[in-house]
């Protein structure tokens, strides 16, 4: 199994989610994060004091898939998450050694 950690633009979340469900992904976990990258940040000014806010809002998706799904999921992420402008985000893939469904205690591929 693989853990896919994708950092995407917030407003792309709905598109990405649809693309993922289309290729058979049944579950994922989403969180709001702040990203630092090539995009650079923005300047906010409060009563004349300018502050550089380096972080921009991003959405992070963590999903675990069976090894054979990896390819189609990466494809789906690329297609649905892309705008072509700086800041589209990244996808990282890590190996997962074990999975368990809490409700049933199932292990491995059955659990995801």
């Amino acid at each position: 199994m693989k853990l896919i950690m994708a950092i995407i633009r917030p407003h792309k979340l709905d598109d990405v989610k649809s693309a993922l469900t289309e290729v058979g992904v049944a579950g994922m976990s989403v969180s709001e994060i702040r990203g630092f990258g090539r995009t650079g940040g923005k300047t906010e000014v409060y009563r004349g004091s300018a502050y550089q806010v380096d972080f921009v809002p991003k959405v992070r998706i963590d999903l675990v898939v069976a090894d054979n799904q990896l390819h189609s999921v990466l494809d789906a992420l690329e297609k649905s998450g892309k705008t072509g402008k700086i800041g589209d985000g990244k996808v990282f893939v890590l190996n997962v050694e074990e999975a368990m469904r809490i409700r049933t205690g199932e292990r491995g591929d059955d659990a995801i």
């Binding site: 633009r9 407003h11 709905d14 702040r34 923005k42 300047t43 906010e44 000014v45 409060y46 502050y51 806010v53 380096d54 972080f55 921009v56 809002p57 402008k85």
Partner: protein
């Protein structure tokens, strides 16, 4: 290019500042008309007359010699003015602010504050005069420009016992909230400069004339007070002037603007219904100043307006969620808020003219009709009225203006027995229809002209990316919330 632009802005701003300061100094130099000696009792008047004048104070009648602001009436009108300001800041800012997405909350707040700032300057310079100075049936004259001669003494045309300067400030608060209402329809997708430019034009093209026609002493729609009004319509607290004008303009402007990026594809959820509920409570409380204050006195008519406002609002605030309960089993907080605001809107034109029971009937309809306008009509027609300014204020204001024609009764407002005695309870609704038609034409035509003018000059919408990023960041360089330690 950038430098040039900066110079241009500097120039514009200096021009405005300079003009303001110049006008102010002119006005200071001219010295305001000195008010007559405080106690009008100075002139010899026989005792019975003096007692009659005092009685006039108590009953809000017309005094003969005692020309002065009366404490009870002035107290109520100052309170009312504060309440109407409260409706905009923070009331409306919260009501609307809670409904937009987090990234646009400040833009809505800035638009409300912008109306307060801009309109105050216009009102002082010339706006009050264009509305309330005697003029022609369509527009007032320049007599009160720079508030010249607008002192603490009453202007008997509008209130025998209320300081004219308080009256002017009270009406300023109306002039602030009206354009701010439009903001709801075009929220989340119009550039700040474009909005402000639009509102600047809108005040001159639509608000000032319309307010003069309806409330100006010689206005052509002022059926109650102007015997020569060509359309003998009535509008107690702003069904046409405030709600129809803003509501119809909002519809047209939102159509010209087009829909928000992603509208209909992604869910656009209110980022904080808590704020919206708080704003609703404030609007309700403030609206007492709006409606009961429109009596321009603390008299029985104000009392009646207070009562009808409460009843219509309470009833509508029950009816809207009841309809939700019927159709979907879940009464929502947004339903309660929408119902309350709809009730307030619909009763506004008739508040001082209809009976309590009329108000209850109006409240029921206020819960039903805007409910369908917002939940069915909008989806059916497919326009993007972001926060339902048209659905609530346009539809509600229009319905209210008409219902006022049917429910108005001299039983609760003796002023209906003067110029309108022949038509109240009979053909008044026809006059209302005419006034409504005129209002709709002015609001829509004016908005089309202005919107395209602003589009040509400044452009209306931010870029796609800016809209996705959110207007708080792009137009104002701020974020509504920094709940996390290090920005973001």
């Amino acid at each position: 290019m950038k430098a040039l632009d900066r110079v241009r802005r500097l120039f514009v701003a200096l021009a405005i500042l300079g003009m303001t300061l110049t006008l102010a100094s002119v006005a200071v130099a001219q010295a305001d008309t000195p008010p007559p000696a405080a106690s009008a009792a100075a002139t010899p008047a026989d005792l019975a007359q003096r007692v009659a004048d005092l009685e006039a104070y108590v009953t809000n009648g017309a005094p003969k010699a005692l020309i002065t602001a009366g404490p009870g009436h002035n107290a109520w009108m100052m309170t009312s003015s504060a309440l109407v300001l409260f409706m905009t800041l923070p009331g409306l800012a919260l009501f609307y602010g809670g409904l937009v997405r987090r990234k646009n909350v400040l833009s809505v707040v800035a638009q409300c504050f912008g109306c307060a700032g801009l309109v105050t300057i216009l009102w002082w310079a010339i706006g009050y005069s264009l509305v309330f100075a005697p003029g022609n049936p369509v527009l007032g004259g320049s007599k009160f420009a720079l508030l010249a001669g607008v002192t603490s003494l009453p202007n008997a045309d509008y209130g025998a016992w209320v300081s004219q300067n308080v009256f002017a400030m009270y009406q300023l608060m109306f002039a602030i909230i009206t354009p701010a209402l439009i903001v709801g329809a075009i929220a989340e997708r119009m550039k700040y400069t474009a909005i402000m430019a639009f509102i600047l034009g809108w005040m001159f093209l639509i608000y000032f004339p319309l307010a003069h026609m309806v409330w100006g002493v010689d206005g052509m729609l002022n059926g109650v007070w102007n015997a020569k009004a060509s359309i003998k319509a009535i509008d107690f607290a702003g069904g046409t002037v405030v709600h129809m004008s803003s509501g119809w303009s909002a519809l047209v402007l939102s159509l010209i603007l087009g829909k928000r990026e992603g509208f209909g594809q992604r869910p656009f959820l209110p980022h904080s219904l808590v704020l919206t509920a708080v704003g609703t409570g404030m609007l309700w409380v403030g609206w007492y100043g709006f409606n009961a204050g429109s009596a321009v006195a603390s008299d029985g008519i104000a009392a009646n307006a207070f009562t009808t406002t409460t009843l219509a609002t309470g009833v509508a605030c029950a009816v809207w969620p009841a309809l939700e309960w019927i159709t979907r089993r879940q009464p929502t907080v947004l339903g309660f808020c929408s119902g309350a605001v709809a009730g307030l809107v619909v009763i506004t034109p008739g508040a001082g003219f209809v009976s309590p029971s009329g108000a209850v009937a109006i409240g029921v309809l206020a819960g039903v009709v805007p409910f369908f306008a917002c939940t069915k009509l909008k989806n059916w027609l497919g326009y993007d009225d972001a926060l339902d300014t048209f659905g609530v204020h346009g539809v509600g204001g229009t319905m209210g203006a008409l219902l006022t024609g049917f429910f108005a009764t001299p039983d609760v407002n003796g002023n209906l027995s003067t110029n309108l005695s022949g038509i109240v309870g009979k053909s008044l609704w026809l006059e209302q229809l005419k006034a409504m038609g005129l209002t709709i034409v002015m609001a829509t035509a004016g908005t089309v002209v202005l919107a395209y003018a602003v589009k040509a000059l400044f452009g209306l919408r931010p870029g796609k990316d800016e809209e996705e990023t959110g207007l708080d960041a792009t137009d104002h360089g701020e974020s509504g919330y920094h709940y996390e330690e290090a920005g973001g």
